[in-house]
Amino acid sequence: MPTVSVGRDRLFAALRRVYTQEEFEKLCFDFGIELDDVTTEKAIIRKEKHLEEDGGADGDEEVIYKIEVAANRYDLLCLEGIARSLRIFIGTEATPVFKLSSIPNGSMLQMHVKKETSQIRPYIVCAVLRGVTFDEVRYNSFIDLQDKLHQNICRKRTLVAIGTHDLDTLQGPFSYEALPPQEINFVPLKQERHFTSDKLMDFYRSDMKLKKFLHIIENSPEFPVIYDSNRTVLSLPPIINGAHSAITLKTRNVFIECTATDLTKANIVLNTMVTMFSEYCENKFEVEPVEVISYDGSKAIYPDLSCYKMEASISEILGRIGISLDETQVISLLNKMQLQAEPCPSKGGPRISVSVPPTRSDILHACDLAEDVAIAYGYNNVPKSKPKSMTIGGRQPLNRFSDKIRAEVTRAGYMEVLTFVLTSYEENFDMINRKDDGNKAVIIANPRTSEFEVVRTSLMSCLLKTLKHNIDHPRPIKIFEVGDVVALDTSRDVGASNNRRLAALYCSSNSGFEEIMGLVDRIVKIVRAPHITFSHPYYVETSEPEFFTKRQCKIVTSDGKQVGYLGIVHAEVLRKFGIPDPCTFVEIDLEALL
């Protein structure tokens, strides 16, 4: 979930009310955001520099609220949006109506899209904010919102990248092109000299912030670039803007362009930018459109600030919540969530028509309306009820069987441990003298560390490792685990299947070979059933490398099927695990005994 830092006093000024922290937390809780932390800029700097309390850090003592917001509410990623949503929620403001300014024919700004962009980053949408008044706080919020959008919906600029420019430094019409890197030459933001874009990529390879984005275009033969009519570079998306058109506190007219690989998200991002900051325009909530003209001649005007219309029946909305209200009440609750609605004619029960503003891209279905009504009504005011259907409880036979085996092994004096399914390649194979034939184990593609390379195919190394960590425990040590191993299995849709195993390990000054056999004898005795039979002897000698020869065997049922194996752990294996005392290990396939 994204976290947004806002100045407390600025926020309360925007809410036109001063709250105690407790009151504000309550408001957040009801609305569905969370006051995650309360700090100051000074404290943040101190923390970053690892300074002591009251150490000589610069910075403001203004109290900062860190607010956690829902991941699909892009309109809550800045102070302007949070304050506006809360004002509407508490009923001190109505939802604004966003509109496009009317532009005389032929004077609308244009963006021409060249064909080559379709190979690398095919979409662009643009808008203009006229007569904006920035101050330092608004300016910072404007920059932070772009950052937050880039981190979240833009998936680190892969899906969408935002560029904002001082329109008065530029001359339309604009063009969105894709050119060989060495042909793009400009002074990038925060630099003072020209770079060709291929050289610029090398230059940014050591830039902590920008190097993360280079991979998006660096392997492409052509880089996307935006020019104005004087061939001034606006930006090299999704990497960097040009220095020429940089926004300052004095900027009055802002040109916003969003380039993208996903048009739906580009629109959401552009709409979020303009609906938040048109608040500071000379004509509040008015946005100037830009015409985007494709190489194939098709034209579109952005931003699209139209409301999304939905119809829903009152019973569909309230039936999901479990409350009864009339249409007017439902409409006024929706209003608190920025949704305009009106009754619409219907033959059946009452229905409403809802207008979803461009700020609420998260509303997809009538169930989203139900949630908003429930939030506005108060989750904690919804009366509790009980589902009426009668159902019968029950368990999976395998799990029930496993529990009976666990209880039996515990009664036999063994201590139950619980180990990880993920392990290292070395532990699963080499350390227990086993070879990987390549067609057994599930292999992780992206392990963070060697501990997560492979899914265990046996519990043996897991128990030996557990023993090693508790090697000072008084002897004899008797531990067991009932758990799943996973093996490749082409008969399953996913290509792998779990197998439930019982494993037990005995360790003392002697191997306990007969102790473990005694445990197996007990298991054999209790699992006997008409379909599970054993005949004497059910131990058949084996020669596996993880055990001493002549002290290992497999366990077979009367129809000759192997259901388990045991043996005195080989000295070489014990040495690899750092275990000084002899051990006997047994592993049994419980599914075969079910």
Partner: protein
Amino acid sequence: MATRDVEAGLLAHLSTNAEIADSRSFASSLGVPHKELEDVIKSLSAFRIVESADITKETWVLTDEAKGYAARGSPEVQLVAAIPPEGASKAALKEKLGDVVFDIGMKAAARNKWIGFEKGNKDLVLRKVEDTKDELQEQLKGLENGEAVAAKVIDDLKRRKLVTKEKTIWYSLKKGPEFVLKRKTLATDVTREHLKSGDWKDLEFKDYNYGALGQPIATGSVNPLLEVRGNIENIFIEMGFVEMPTNMFVESSFWNFDALFQPQQHPARDSHDTFFLKAPATTTQLPNDYLEKVKQIHQSGGYGSKGYGYDWKRDEAEKNLLRTHTTAVSARMLYKLAQEKPFAPKRYYSIDRVFRNEAVDRTHLAEFHQIEGLICDYGLTLGDLKGVLEDFFSRLGMSQLRFKPAYNPYTEPSMEIFSYHDGLKKWVEIGNSGMFRPEMLLPMGLPEGVNVIAWGLSLERPTMILYGIDNIRDLFGPKVDFNLIKNSPMCRLGM
């Protein structure tokens, strides 16, 4: 004389005499060493059968060296007596008397001028007196016999390390409040002999030390985390839930994400949150009709939904992973349920492992257990969800609940569940819940009007709180603490 007889003799004596003034003389009258009588006195005193008063005396006793002198005379006298009239060589005297007596005797005899040497032959010792008076021997004998000796003499003997001080204790005795002529012997246990002989009738037990622990017993023990799992399972079963088969750790992105209406660009699908697989890398067997509906709902919507409006890719859905939640299994179960006609309401639960490619610390593991419950029926409401959560969590000892709006791609409405924690004096988040989205249920083929209410939480967090454990690795993983497993109390959740 046996101890029993000593005790009998002592008690018999006291029953007719008022007291025994001196235990030493009484011991010699019985003909036993004082030490033996002393043991009997201590035992009888402890039971207040006799009352004893200590009598202590400090006496000077002879060292072993001094005892020799008391018997054979002082070294100088022994030396002089050993010299024949014609004199003797030093070597001969040394051999006769031993090194110690010779050395000390030579010095003292020379000082007393009892001996001399032949001129020109320092080796021949001559006797110069006929008669010697042995004062030292007399003093030592006197001390040995308990005669009074002058303090100056004692000082002299002390300096020569011939005497040491010794404390002696003896007792005066009289009847105690519990005086009996013959005391009963106290039993520590009941034996087969007691039962057989009928002795148990007169059996009186020695006091038992209830402060001592019993014998440690050899026992097995269950893992507390799984103990808690068992109790929570019971709560589900009591509430009519049937367990889902969750024994499949490998899952496809399709069932883990796409079927749940989780878009393909969702951050949870990033490799730094999810374990993707090299082998088996993909799932190729997916139900095609259903897959087509899932693709439609993501790309362009349907069933009253707008959809996400992006280009859905089958490749992305085929990628295998270790399931990030058991909801993947819930999706399979609901899809299966949707194919069964006519529809029947269900309550499902599961508690099993899920996997997250995240950094591991004291409270977070890369694999942990997810508890999940869901109810599927016509007309279920958010109010029903609140009611079921109250039933469930009150059985876990959390009856004060609050709900906060939250976001989850596959539930709407979604609620975070908070419970008031008495110890921490604040509301803590204990789980997540919600109603599955129609975009998830309708493509499966569930009838219109059927809703699913569901909730989930981890097994580890409540267990840590319940057992006061601050490091999850004490319970789960190879570094488990054997003593913690062995000594944990039983889990009483839901009892």
